[in-house]
């Protein structure tokens, strides 16, 4: 099915962050459709649902109740059906350990949540417009963590 928009999914338990996220995309002049989920389980349920339309990019918060970001990442990477979905880690912390772990598990990019709304918009627009094919092939630990 040919789409003329980018389907974006976010799993984050924090309501404020979900709000910033959707607001940012609203303000961005990019043709996107954003779905948000309160935790990893909800996201996975959606992904596994046969009628769901698979997203282009999934943004994963790490610190979530029920099923956290790492567990969620593992589940997604297990299933070949989701191989074409780009996964962006979207977290408050940027501890070395988290960055390392998610990189090893196969995430495509790591975003530290900015403390400025304009920065957030800039980061999200950057991520959405990345040529994922190209980015993934040249992926390494140095450009994994998105710096602006």
């Amino acid at each position: 099915m040919q789409k003329d928009y980018i389907l974006i999914t976010l799993a984050d338990d924090d309501e404020d962050d979900r709000l910033f996220f959707t607001d940012a995309f609203d303000e961005l002049k990019i043709n996107t459709v954003v779905n948000t989920f309160k935790n990893g389980k909800e996201l996975l349920d959606f992904l596994h649902h046969p009628e769901s339309v698979l997203p282009n990019i999934i943004f994963l918060d790490l610190n979530m109740p029920i099923l956290n970001g790492i567990e969620c990442l593992k589940e997604i990477k297990k299933n070949q059906k989701f191989d074409n979905i780009a996964i962006a880690i979207y977290s408050t912390s940027s501890s070395d350990q988290d960055v390392e772990n998610t990189f090893v598990l196969g995430a495509n990019i790591y975003i530290k949540k900015p403390s400025d709304f304009n920065t957030l918009k800039k980061v999200l627009s950057e991520v959405v417009t990345i040529n994922w094919q190209y980015h993934t092939s040249g992926l390494n630990k140095d450009n994994f963590l998105l710096r602006l």
């Binding site: 910033f20 912390s93 403390s115 709304f117």
Partner: protein, 737 residues
């Protein structure tokens, strides 16, 4: 053997001498006897001669009588002829008799008397011998008277002769009996000589035969001895030799050739030939032996080397002795022993003894040191015999149990008595298991000491088999009571520490994540208001919004600094080679905006590679430079000078370390506001600030982090300040290689 032979020859000599004497004696006796015999036979003949002569005499007298009578009767002168002949015959016979009876006085006397009578008789007859006269007187009275007288004399003569004959007859009888006796003795004597001689011959034959047998036996024994000797020579690798000093011929025993490395009799045995074998350095010794053996009686053995035809060097020991055989026949008899093996063995033995001595010495040292170690280390060792259930304790093992060393004979039973009741089964089991498994792995138990104090013991043991094949168990027991208590305390502390670390890491998490999250949201909301609602606010509201923004951003800095500080706390960072030139370049890059803003000048040396944690060194440099920039004077262009030098600890009095340790010395000097020297140490304390936060932005964490990093690198950091002039931070990082 030799003694026996000698004795035999002596006996021989004695027997021979005795035999000689006996034969001589017997011969002499026989000679004497035969002489006696001939003497007696002569005497018998003599007696007969005397008797015969006497008869002859009487017969002559009768003849003379007859002649006279014939003449007187006939007056024929012819009858006078026999008368005269008879008279001269009487004289002759008488002289003969005189001669014959010379040895017998009695007969001589008788003969003299007879002579007187005969003379008288002849005188009577003589008166009538004249033919002219006698014719007239025959019938005279005187004549008659004379005639009677003459007849009477004749009878007297006759009697005298008979008397003499009788004497001679008695002699004869006597002499005959002697003669007969002697004649009878002769065959006995001869026979006895014969017998004695036969006896001697038989005895001599017996003896000789006997000796011959003995000689044969001796010869046999000698042959055996010779055989044994040659075997002995081979086995003990020695050879014998004879050197005749008269003929200068030398004879070697078979084995003498062998020990020289040759087949027996394969070369002529001469002294000169022998000398060719001798090691050139030892020729003097051998010549010395040859020289001295001729003169000296007892020669001590000399050792020298020879070279065998295959080039092998062997050690020989030789001695000889002058042996005087027959008259002036001088021979040197000698023995040469190949002592190479002996020497080698001796050498080996010596080496063994030396190494044994060394070992023994080491053992003594080891023993003493282990004795001391046992006391210092609070342990004792023991050996357990499975068969007897007995122990051998080291001195300190007794002490550990509260006893004087060697004050009792330790057994498994009395060990059990000393073990704390609850642990007895454990120990008993361990020993039973050890009998099959051959070891006691670290066993902890309690012992009630003689003074009733309960001590914690730890034992390890392993079975071993000694050289004699006896299997026993050797073990070490340590009094670990102090350790046990310390361990208890340590475990407690460890637990507390673990709790603390857990809490700290929880705090870390809270600080890094949970605290940052609300702050980030506050800041995002502020940015939202700034973007969307700023126009709708009054000036008052705008001012407050700015203050909220500032406060929240300060909180962010604080949280970040704190996180950084806690991260530097961790000691598990691995040291790698760190190029300080790169580190400085990165720091300058990181602070480039700041440097540009302040238009600061940074001068620096070239650095060496050091051993350290890269990100920490990065932090250190960044913090120090940013510190200098922060406290720069507003009206002066900030200038930061970074100097580098390798130094020795003893040349840096500030280190108070008199060693040759090499340090990397890095000095940061700035021309900023400086500080009072009295605050030099205070500035490194956490959250300690010398200035109000409105004057200079800062959390008071930066320098504390610097100190922490330097200490993590086992180094030193010193601050020196002059107010209004500037500050200097000096860092010493040890050089490891």
């Amino acid at each position: 053997m030799r003694e026996n032979k000698f004795k035999t020859s002596k006996v021989h000599k004695i027997i021979f001498t005795i035999s000689l004497f006996v034969v001589l004696f017997v011969g002499a006796v026989t000679y004497k006897h035969i002489e006696n015999l001939s003497q007696s036979s002569k005497l018998v003949v003599h007696t007969y001669e005397v008797n015969l002569e006497l008869e002859q005499l009487f017969s002559y007298i009768k003849d003379s009588e007859n002649g006279m009578r014939g003449f007187l009767i006939t007056r024929d002168e012819n009858y006078l002829n026999p008368y005269y002949t008879a008279n001269s015959n009487i004289n002759e016979s008488f002289a003969k008799l005189k001669k014959l009876t010379k040895d017998n006085k009695q007969q001589q006397q008788n003969l003299n008397e007879l002579y007187e009578i005969i003379k008288k008789r002849l005188d009577y007859n003589g008166e009538y011998s004249d033919p002219d006269l006698s014719r007239n007187i025959v019938n005279t009275k005187e004549f008659k008277k004379n005639f009677n007288e003459s007849s009477r004399l004749l009878v007297a003569i006759r009697n005298k002769i008979n008397q003499m004959t009788e004497i001679e007859d008695t002699f004869l009888i006597k002499r005959n009996s002697i003669y007969n006796e002697q004649i009878n003795l002769t065959p006995i004597l001869t026979l006895s000589i014969l017998l004695v001689t036969i006896l001697l011959i038989v005895y001599a034959y017996y003896k000789t035969n006997n000796d011959l047998e003995k000689l044969k036996e001796a010869n046999n024994t000698l042959n055996k001895a010779f055989f044994l000797n040659s075997q002995a020579e081979i086995l003990s690798s020695f050879g014998t030799w004879e050197w005749d000093l008269v003929t200068h011929v030398t004879k070697y025993s078979e084995n003498f050739y062998r020990i020289l490395g040759y087949e027996p009799y394969s070369f002529p045995s001469t002294n000169d030939n022998f000398l060719t074998f001798v090691h050139p350095e030892d020729k003097e010794i051998v010549l010395g032996i040859m020289d001295r053996v001729v003169r000296e009686e007892n020669l001590p053995p000399s050792t020298f080397r020879i070279i065998r035809p295959d080039g092998e060097i062997r050690y020989f020991r030789a001695t000889g002795k002058l042996f005087l055989e027959k008259l002036k026949h001088k021979t040197v008899l000698g023995v040469t022993h190949d002592i190479t093996d002996e020497i080698n063995n001796n050498k080996l033995l010596e080496e063994n003894i030396q190494s044994l001595e060394k070992l023994n010495n080491e053992l003594i040292i080891f023993d003493e040191s282990s004795r001391q170690a046992e006391i210092l280390g609070n342990y004792g060792s023991w050996i357990f015999n499975f068969e007897t259930n007995e122990f051998i304790y080291s001195e300190n093992k007794y002490r550990l149990m509260g006893f004087e060393p060697k004050s009792f004979q330790p057994t498994l039973e009395n060990l059990m008595d000393h073990i704390y009741e609850d642990d007895r089964e454990l120990v008993q089991e361990a020993f039973e298991n050890a009998n099959t498994t051959g070891e006691i792995p670290a066993l902890n138990y309690r012992v009630v000491r003689k003074d009733k104090e309960i001590r914690h013991f730890k034992t390890v043991a392993k079975s071993f088999t000694d050289l004699s094949g006896l299997e026993s168990m050797i073990g070490t027991t340590q009094d670990v009571t102090e350790d046990y208590h310390k361990n208890e305390l340590l475990e407690e502390r460890n637990y507390e520490l673990e709790q603390n670390i857990k809490e700290l890491s929880e705090f870390n998490h809270v600080a890094s994540h949970d605290l940052q999250e609300p702050l980030r949201k506050i800041q995002t909301f502020i940015s939202r208001i700034n973007d969307k609602e700023k126009e709708n606010l009054t000036d008052f509201g705008k001012d407050y919004l700015i203050r909220i923004e500032k406060a929240s951003s300060r909180m962010r800095i604080l949280i970040n600094d704190l996180l950084q500080y806690s991260r530097t706390n961790r000691g598990d960072n691995v040291f790698t080679q760190v190029d300080l030139n790169e580190v400085l370049a990165n720091s300058i890059l990181e602070l480039s905006q700041n440097i540009e803003d302040k238009k600061a000048i940074i001068k620096y040396d070239s650095f060496d590679v050091i051993e350290g944690v890269e990100f920490q060194m990065q932090q250190l440099f960044t913090n120090l430079i940013s510190n200098s920039l922060k406290y720069s004077k507003e009206d002066v262009v900030p200038e930061i000078v970074i100097k580098y030098k390798k130094v020795k600890a003893k040349n840096e009095p500030i280190l108070k370390e008199d060693s040759h340790e090499v340090y990397h010395k890095i000095k940061f000097t700035d021309n900023g506001i400086g500080f009072e020297q009295e605050n030099a140490e205070k500035i490194f304390l956490l959250f300690n600030r010398l200035h109000g936060k409105t004057e200079y932005q800062g959390t008071g964490v930066g320098l504390a982090i610097c100190k922490k990093i330097v200490e993590n690198h086992n180094g030193y950091i010193f601050a020196k300040g002059v107010p209004g002039k500037g500050a200097t931070f000096t860092i010493y990082i040890p050089k490891y290689i």
